[in-house]
Symmetry: D2
Subunit: 238 residues, 4 copies
């Protein structure tokens, strides 16, 4: 687990996948930069590899992650994404094992070790509680508990799934942070997930397919803050 950067909860991941790139993506990143500052919420952006440097150089408050990387060192490997190259471009971390880019167990383990070596935060996707527990043994920084069947459907994880997953992961390694993904369509969904106990959540379609992505982004980040503050207040009086 890379300790060079600490992401204080609550945080939020925006995954442009192959929806946005270049100047359009930069516009969204600037809106994220402003929302991160305004609401004091950490935001992770996972742009196309080609946009990492562009976003890093034009923002101050967001964390820029690669969508994937290969478990390799310098040398051969044409077409690969070299961990050192992500770091050199200014990237802060890397997403691994998303349902659209699954990795073998062995490659995932090596990639997490490479992220640690190179100095990249690792955020690893799991789509069942059993997978999340298995992945916890590899000590990534963050696990995305994202039931694959919900990706892109607009239906958020239920509360029981959220609590069970967080508890199962933290039992194996309490330092791992847990992001609840899948099915976030609007500020209301974000609010519900955070209130249900999540320390982080995120979306792709919720923002990418919104009529006004920047507006939706602000709505969601504001919801993170509102829900988080309500929990803190409640806890204070308990």
């Amino acid at each position: 687990m890379y300790k060079g950067i600490v992401i204080k909860p609550p945080f939020f991941e925006i995954g442009p996948k192959a929806f946005m790139y270049g100047e359009r993506m930069l516009k969204l990143a600037k809106a994220a930069d402003e929302a991160a500052r305004k609401y004091d919420v950490r935001i992770i952006l996972t742009p196309q590899y080609t946009d990492i440097k562009l976003l890093v150089e034009n923002t101050e408050n967001v964390l820029v992650f690669a969508q994937h990387m290969d478990p390799i060192g310098t040398g051969r490997g044409l077409g690969s994404v070299l961990p050192e190259a992500i770091k050199a471009a200014g990237g802060h971390g890397v997403m691994l094992n998303h349902a659209e880019r699954p990795m073998s167990i062995s490659d995932l383990y090596k990639a997490i070790k490479r992220a640690d070596e190179v100095g990249l935060i690792s955020i690893v996707c799991a789509d069942t509680i059993e997978e999340a527990k298995a992945i916890a043994y590899f000590s990534p920084n963050i696990i995305v508990a994202e039931p694959t069947e919900l990706i892109g459907t607009g239906q958020p994880s239920d509360n029981e799934y959220i609590r069970e997953t967080i508890s199962a992961i933290k039992q194996i390694n309490p330092e791992i942070q847990v992001l609840q993904g899948a099915g976030i369509s609007n500020g209301r969904d974000v609010y519900n997930v955070i209130k249900a106990g999540a320390e982080a959540t995120g979306t792709t379609s919720g923002i990418m397919k919104a009529n006004n992505p920047e507006e939706m982004l602000e709505e969601m980040i504001k919801a993170v803050r509102t829900a988080w503050d309500e929990i803190q207040t409640t806890n204070k009086y308990l």
Copy 2:
């Protein structure tokens, strides 16, 4: 076949694979930029995706290609390399179907079409004459005739292979340019390949593993020019 950029022969491809990246790669790219100007030889660089924009913005005479891209349009596809994103980063083209990143026939066909649509030069690898002929039907801009068994061995393709491959490809589509790869270790190898009739060649290890990559780069580009001029002179008197 994308017609927006014409690469006048002779040309030369330098493939850093995962050997060089970031500032070190930028240094090499600047040396390539200068050699391209000095010797009037077109140079293609295929850096890590994360370095495309960096090299494009800091050079004038080199062509910057992605090492691979996915045959997709905008939308889902986490971990993918979107054709539009390469173009937006300033990339001039894309390499496809290298032995270290093989593509299915169907994906290769689609990726070449996507390169045409987006405005990227396509350079496709083949490792037998039969494969080169098959690929010629997809009308890429350039075919790399690179016997896989020679990659990284320092043994250049023999003259017969060079002539047969060029002839076979041009018979199917005379507009396709042919690059003779594999086994280029020094200026002498480059000279021999161009004199044997190639309009282009290239290397990875020859430069990446050289004691002084920039010096080797200059030696090779100079050899391209020398061999090419000798052929032109000879042809003039025939």
Copy 3:
């Protein structure tokens, strides 16, 4: 191209994929065996690997093909399908490069060569005319011209596609046989495809999802014979 077995047209391929296996598949194979004899139509069955020997030993008139094989020789390769093992089990041929099991160009080329060496008929799938032409350079025995977008939809290839594909393939190598796939739902579809000039066709869902697969099989094989005889009669008087 393996010449040890000649498949006289018309012929028909039935692809059980992962729908049928074991005793249920054997029942269908016996019905195919009887229909092949009764209507003098060659039938290719592509069962699960585990059923190849079972079907070969219990039929006389059908050809049993593997669904895929790896382009390897004896040695390492756990989880692979060895060409020699298919031959030893009595298999007559192998399907390659189906849309559900795409192969790289290089692997496909090697697999066709391995089929030739070992003595297996190769039937290779293509989903555009360009891909079919490219594959024709590798000299397989049979090319399946099967527009991917039609697989499983119940909509047959149109006549123009059929004629163009056959003509394009035969122009490169007249010995290659062409099977028109995709979208065959019943005897009427089969009749239309053969009348449109195909020497072969086939189905998966048409039979696998039929209420009575054996009845549908007989309907389709009968339609092959009827259409084929009508063409022969017509040609005789031309």
Copy 4:
């Protein structure tokens, strides 16, 4: 975890990969059948898919496993290995996630569940202790602790690795059996691994590349028995 068949230790796995098939494999299987009876050692054979039925029908004492299977149910999936088809051919189990056939975490989890449903013993490969622990959460019947770097080298796992791995796995789920793989070349290696505390081991090259595979098989199975009996005797007097 499938409970329909219990494999009493000690046991031994012979992996023919793509080295042996058909009649030659049957000869080895018969020798294994006799050795299993003579030395009261359970033997698992993982032949080519096409040979599963052949071996099952011609042996009495060996367990026949597929080399791999796909995490699918009946339906589409051309080129796949359907769990139900292995079971129907008489197979007793399936190997998963070998270094030559890695699976994504999600597919591995699904495949183990499918093995349970269909009634197949699952034997899953891991190449580090961390991976073994992660896999233990999926409750397969057997985990092969096989440091990838040793496969085919003839150098057995060291005692510390053996003890640590067994202890780590049993701590998560004491019902999982552990097979120590990699680097077994002869009877002496087998003896050492069992004496070091393994309940099972196995080999590919040790037997496949032996001058007389049947003789080597007998030497190895005899060594399993000798080492196992010595341990039992020792334990009795402790």
